[in-house]
Symmetry: D2
Subunit: 329 residues, 4 copies
């Protein structure tokens, strides 16, 4: 039985705890949170002990930590956990600074501990199926990737100010998805954007509507578009055009009912809430992490995938500012 | 160049005239109608001569007639045309009486003239594709056929009184479709129905909502449902469940645009008007008829198919009245 | 905290135990099974005590039982539980005999205990949404209901022999769904069927392909079709045609990926396994049961719904045998 | 009755002739082609006279010309027709040089003759409906436009060499569509592309896979992607994300039949041939042109729309070469 320590008992920590309840061979042994009440509540549901993060990291009976704390605490928790020999599952982004992620890579790789970066969408049944079929050769060579991603509604401007901006906070998921589907490293980034939804977002120096064009060394191209608002739900689509065919992951709707009337045929809107939309992905992600710990396989996406997405996000932000395409070395 | 005589220049006659304009090797040579103005108008569009029906049938330069006149004139026109050696394309129903159709079969078969019964839906790209794939073995053995057919709105009660009732006027199309898709003769019919849309239809002795269950000797089953009213367009669907898979013909919508909003994803309603919905079918039907005349092949569905559908309709009407399933000998 | 006793720890008992883990205010307090190992395994996962059924029913600290044992044990367990004042959640069918269900109704109603019949499909997000929208008047008056239900593959013939036949074992779900969607009692049943999939099923006196036509006093009509085999998954669809529009519950596919190639656009097959297809339904069903216990509301569908579906199934079996429509008094 | 002269009797000239046969109040009065046999054949079908282009332009009884000749002949034919006071319907591109189009604009505007540029896709029922709904405010403010356009297979390399390149030959349709849907002029263009399908296309100095990002003064963004090859048909999609919702024009498939099997649910591929896919668009386009001549309304898109699309194509080609975004003044 693997003993897992959950660092952070907020919304995402609770999701990971629930996933563990469905997995044989692992359980939440200890939980920690800056707010004791949050830790107590999660402990009551799971049977885990409430401890401090330090105590969890120091406890030799705990084999792995799941880090779901605020981003600015990730660096120290990763460093300490790696030095303590713990396997690490860290929510994205690993850190807001690519340089600091580089430092962590060294620490983690020296320590030789398994590391999973929480790009949950790779584990979504749709996107995972799509990538598996690409890898199986179903569409031949990948040529054009199109990713459309729109949130139901924008976060508060206060959040946007500390978020690092749309490219680092929202489109970073799509940058990771692009790498996942392109099957080749991105070498060039062009991005542009506008504040069309809320002028306050523009006043805060950010955009709420944006696109990026990524290219690879062999000439594969990926287009991404983001909007901070979609009236019809959480819009999460991708398609990959290859030499032999096209794969497309469509939206997941709230139910399978269709209503026909004089206005036409109407299906339900897309699921609105990311925890509902990606419920299956979160479960599969934890299953993958625990499975790697049991089998000795290397978790993927790893910490270097966290860096790669962050670097594309940085390049996109720079392209938006300068109007020029940015080469990744 | 085949010279075709159009008997009847109403709505359906105009459709057949337009189809002929797109076909090489045949043209509307003469048109006739009880209303001279209708014949004149169609002649002006096509270059055909205005003649009487009798004159057309008597004209040795005319090889074929297309009969689109009221049903009660079909018998005489078919008899005269057959005796004159004309190939015949007659709109459905051939006649309201199965016995009179039997008489016509004898006349037509003695005369040895090609005969096409105008069950246009067999030529619809959807239904024709479905039947061709069944014939090609794509779904293995046919087991269950489901036909859903609903008109946009009921005809006037005055029409219903002289129509022969829902089974002979509306569901007869579905009885022919059932035979087309089942690939085996129907031996037993159960039907029931209600007047739910308009009490006046019930008062006129008819139903506006009805279902039928048809079975074949080998145990294949077909379910049909009809409604005289559908708010969302002209609902025309069929599906065939076989041992290896399912084939389904979906509705044809007015356009391919989808609208996403908080209420969900909405596509256009089904095409409303039968002439629009079956425009492709009418063109393919005429192409088939002319093709048979050129190649010497036998047109299908023939006059015996007209009788078979009529007999099922009679049995359904009897089942509705008696509450009992009716065996076809 | 409600203490729930699970009678039966097989596949369905495990599903109900998992549902309870997600519900606040209730937990599996005790489990029983004829096979001690099954009870032990479920106890280990849930923290419940292993007890005998008798002991559970006799335990005053347990407020409700969930009966997931073989059908022939239902009668005694229901009787004992009702007399002990337990709330009862019993899997369908309540019993194979309508007369014995009538006896149970008297016992349960005299005891005054809450009773839920496990027609899980009523709680499926699709069918539940459809019924809620009908009740809200979205499609006006219900006129025609069409239910298509096909299993991925037939059960062993040995099972079929003891199952009561297709109408009582499989279509009974659809009879309940018909009542749920029609909103009016069924007064007349016509059914027919064939053994097309496996002659051994026919030899065992049953059919594997069947249809039924149900009518209500006001003339509403429901068509049902069943097949014991569908190559493309667990086919579970229903549609309701009303005076103002149509509601349709489509199949749920394995994922949301579409593959486009020269052969066309292909989506995943329908989910195959009933526990996966109705996972959401089982959770919602238990939530409803527990919610009723907490709030004092009456669970629905109740034991009289179990009887009503059974009576339609009996009538359908009789209609198949006699070829006549059967009136329900 | 309007007398129309068709200049060019090739594939597209034949399409326009067929459209005229369905329009009251206009007919093909004369046809011209460099190959006399082509003109003779079209004359036989339509009843038009065979004349030279010069004679048609000089004939005072002819009110309008439809120019479907090779692009390099457009300039002279437009100039002569305009000076002769003819209304002009000219296939796209008006000319390969933006400067020469500017010269033609002056000539046409001085002559004051109606001019329609043959961007047929604006008249497609899907795209036209989408634009009409945007104009009606259904999705609020336009924010993001996505256009996906893929040909079934690449043209011969010989054609590509004289085509002006992908941006001027293929994506020019999408640039016009972008202007149509954005509702605002494009001020900035970024484009990139690769030769992934056929190295010979790359050797000829062109690309076969390309994307463009267009932005408007107010910050609206349009993404376009093109491929010269799609295994699944002629892929023609667009979607517009607005403040109140999303409009999407889906592909048109060869028929409405769905096939379900163990491999999933499969619909027909997209229509392959542009003349079939845009049959409705060509008819609506001619109806619009003739309608404008009858009513005195100004045809749209006009010659200035031809210039605007050409300028975006030139900017895209420049962006591809330089790697920089290009501003349109």
């Amino acid at each position: 039985m693997l003993n897992i320590g959950l660092l952070g008992c907020g919304r995402i920590g609770q999701v990971h705890a629930a996933s563990l309840q469905h997995i044989d061979g692992a359980h939440a042994a200890a939980v920690a949170d800056a707010f004791p009440a949050a830790a107590e509540a999660l402990a009551a549901k799971t049977g885990a002990k409430v401890m401090t993060s330090d105590a969890i990291i120091a406890d030799p009976s705990i084999q792995a930590v799941v880090i779901g704390t605020p981003t600015d605490t990730h660096f120290d928790l990763i460093e300490a956990s790696a030095r303590a020999g713990k396997a690490i599952f860290c929510e994205k982004p690993v850190d807001m600074s690519a340089d600091r992620i580089r430092t962590l890579i060294e620490i983690v790789e020296v320590a030789g501990v398994p590391f999973l970066t929480g790009f949950n969408r790779r584990f979504d049944p749709g996107f995972a199926t799509m990538q598996a079929r690409i890898a199986a050769g179903d569409i031949g060579d990948v040529e054009l990737v199109t990713i459309l991603s729109r949130d139901p509604s924008p976060p508060p401007v206060s959040y946007i100010k500390s978020s690092g901006g749309l490219f680092r906070d929202m489109m970073i998921h799509d940058f990771d998805m692009a790498r996942f589907l392109l099957g080749e490293e991105v070498v060039r980034v062009f991005a542009t954007g506008s504040a069309l939804i809320d002028p306050a977002i523009g006043a805060a120096g950010d955009v709420d509507t944006a696109v990026a064009v990524l290219t690879t060394a062999s000439g594969r191209i990926c287009q991404i578009s983001n909007s901070r608002r979609a009236t019809y739900g959480y819009d999460q689509r991708a398609e990959v055009h290859g030499s032999l065919g096209l794969l497309r992951a469509n939206n997941v709707t709230e139910n399978n009912v269709e209503f026909a009337s004089g206005a036409g045929f109407r299906t339900a809107p897309a699921q609105h809430f990311f925890l509902e939309r990606y419920a299956g992905a979160y479960r599969a992600e934890m299953l993958h992490f625990i499975g790697c710990l049991s089998s000795g396989k290397t978790p993927s996406p790893g910490i270097r995938d966290g860096l790669a997405a962050q670097r594309i996000a940085d390049a996109a932000a720079q392209s938006l500012e300068t109007g020029l395409a940015v080469d990744l070395d």
